[in-house]
């Protein structure tokens, strides 16, 4: 199997399979989780502006008082990683092409030098987070196989993607194929691991905000 055949496979059937499993997994898990329902709160509500599920979905992205000073590494590296990954995935020209072919929607991208710089920052942030998970007692204590596995699942696409663009180590064809392959693995495992927080985070924040919002408490 030559490099181009490998690339052709990952771009073709491999991607079909991955996106299929991804969509299947997402729908399956969303039904599985949110169908359990929630009892109506009969207590007398107290309505306070800003105390609602929807406001918590956004507000919870801001570190609560004192926490940023307490755990700067988790917050800063965490933000650099998430924002960096979002910029790379949604504003790199080839990615926009990919979404356009999938959804027919397109939007302007960022120059590839900026994406390249952001990718380096994202890689560094992820390495910092990995080091933190290894060294910090609480994180180490909580970590299971899945934590290390999902870290790798998320790190490899960024690394291979950056190396493909930089034409490093392997011929472009192979590295691009590896990049797409690692993205496919990420897609396949996402719905069945803690990476599914990418979807459930909104539900969780909304519930947390709604339950406390009923009490007029803006969390």
């Amino acid at each position: 199997m030559s490099e181009l055949q490998f690339l052709t496979w990952v771009r073709g059937p491999g991607l079909d399979l991955a996106i299929g499993i991804f969509l299947m997994g997402v729908l399956w898990r969303l039904f599985e989780i949110y169908s359990l329902g929630r009892k109506k709160d009969l207590a007398e509500p107290r309505s306070v502006a800003g105390a609602s599920g929807m406001s918590t979905v956004f507000r919870r992205s801001i570190p609560p008082a004192g926490m940023l000073k307490n755990s700067p590494v988790t917050y800063v590296a965490g933000y650099v990683f998430h924002v960096g990954l979002a910029i790379i995935v949604f504003f790199f020209a080839p990615h926009i092409k990919f979404f356009q072919s999938l959804l027919g929607v397109s939007w302007p991208g960022f120059p590839s030098q900026l994406i390249d710089f952001v990718a380096v920052l994202t890689i560094i942030a992820m390495l910092v987070l990995l080091f933190d998970r290894i060294t910090k007692p609480v994180k180490r204590y909580l970590s299971t196989f899945q934590d290390w596995f999902t870290w790798a699942l998320t790190f490899l696409p960024v690394l291979t993607g950056w190396m493909a663009v930089q034409h490093l180590l392997l011929p472009y064809t192979t590295m691009l194929a590896l990049h797409i392959l690692t993205v496919e693995l990420l897609l396949i495992f996402l719905p069945f691991t803690k990476l599914f927080h990418a979807f459930t985070v909104f539900g969780s924040r909304w519930y947390s905000g709604a339950v406390n919002g009923h009490k007029g408490v803006a969390v």
Binding site: L4, G20, M24, R29, F31
Partner: protein, 362 residues
């Protein structure tokens, strides 16, 4: 056909090609093949005194585009002359003879130069119905190849068909076409893919074989690294636009007219190894990208099945077609689990035993 025994240089002189021009040709050829400058001189001497090698050119399942390309000489190119001067003993398109006479010429050449002749193959070899799909003079290409290959010093597979099966091997490959290296395992084979390949690549390999008596350094897919070591993308003159993110969106938009990168119009330059961007075509006139069309990736195996020529490399074929079906399955599984969960939760609620104080004790 020319006198088979003449000395190459003498022949060139007859055509008004001075020694100096010939020397210049050899040095550029050497540089093209990334050989050291000195070998240019060595190449010139070898070529000048080379006994005219016997070459057998076999045509199998092909469109004769390779021959067209190699012999195209709207102006008398050195490549063309070289081919005139080798002892092309058997070339079904170019030779005057036909029928039995042609076949006799073939076998005579094989016998006279046993073990020393150079076999050039154009076209893929049909294996279906043990070769019945493609026959010449009543014999299947498969048998012909095997027989002729036995006495060959080396084999040159010209064009993507001979190198990798090419278009005849494209999905669904009705004749189960195969490449030369799929069939012949015991002879040194050089693949010169391309649809068609570049003429100078041919002469480069010929010159190398004549000069050094061996084939040039090959990459994993049997291609001369001198010509196939770099991707089109890495050598493309529009590469700067790619790096700045300046892409033509349609074949006639402002970007296209400005000569911007054709990545978004399906150019396969980044994944294709060939020398088009440097040697160009038709004597340096132009090449596909320069003419405003993306590279098709014709020198790569199965390039015909590698997705649309007009979809960007980063664009998938059509994942949603299959995906939406599988997603529906996901929804169904989700709903099934939800119903099971609700039933289980209902049962737990129904079986609830109100806790009283003694129930707090184990």
């Amino acid at each position: 056909m020319r006198d088979k025994e003449g000395v190459l240089l003498a022949g060139l002189a007859e055509h008004g090609v001075s020694r100096r021009t010939f020397m210049k040709f050899c040095t550029t050829l050497a540089s093209l093949m990334a050989l050291p400058a000195a070998s240019g001189v060595a190449m010139a001497e070898a070529l000048a005194t080379a006994r005219r090698p016997s070459v057998i050119w076999l045509h199998f399942q092909e469109c004769t585009g390779c021959t067209e390309s190699i012999t195209r000489s709207h102006s008398p190119t050195i490549e063309g002359l070289i081919f005139d001067l080798i002892s092309l003993d058997y070339q079904e398109t170019l030779m005057a003879a036909a029928g039995h006479q042609a076949e006799e010429a073939l076998h005579k050449a094989m016998k006279d130069n046993e073990g020393k002749y150079l076999l050039i193959v154009e076209g893929s070899i049909a294996q279906g119905l043990n070769g019945a799909y493609s026959t010449v003079a009543g014999r299947s290409n498969l048998d012909t190849l095997k027989e002729v290959a036995k006495g060959a010093a080396a084999i040159v597979a010209v064009g993507s068909c001979a190198s990798y099966g090419g278009i005849p091997k494209a999905n669904p490959n009705p004749t189960s076409a195969a490449s030369v290296s799929d069939i012949i395992k015991d002879k040194p084979i050089v693949n010169i893919p391309g649809c068609p390949p570049i003429p100078v690549v041919m002469t480069g390999v010929m010159a190398h074989f004549l000069t050094f008596g061996s084939l040039p350094e090959l990459d994993k897919l049997g291609r001369p690294k001198a010509f196939y070591g770099e991707t089109i993308h890495d050598r493309c003159y529009r590469r700067a636009f790619y790096d700045q993110g300046k892409f033509a969106k349609t074949f006639d938009d402002e970007g296209a007219r400005n000569g911007w990168c054709l990545f978004e119009l399906g150019c396969k330059g980044p994944v294709t190894y060939n020398a088009c961007a440097t040697t160009k075509w038709n004597g340096g006139t132009s090449w596909p990208v320069e003419s405003g069309h993306g590279c098709l990736g014709c020198s790569e195996p199965d390039f015909w099945d590698a997705g649309s020529f007009y979809k960007a490399l980063s664009m998938p074929a059509n994942p949603l077609k299959v995906a939406s079906g599988v997603a529906a399955v996901g929804a169904a599984v989700g709903v099934a689990v939800s119903l099971a969960n609700r039933a289980k939760k209902g049962a737990a609620k129904a079986a609830h035993e109100t806790t009283t104080l003694p129930d707090l004790e184990k």
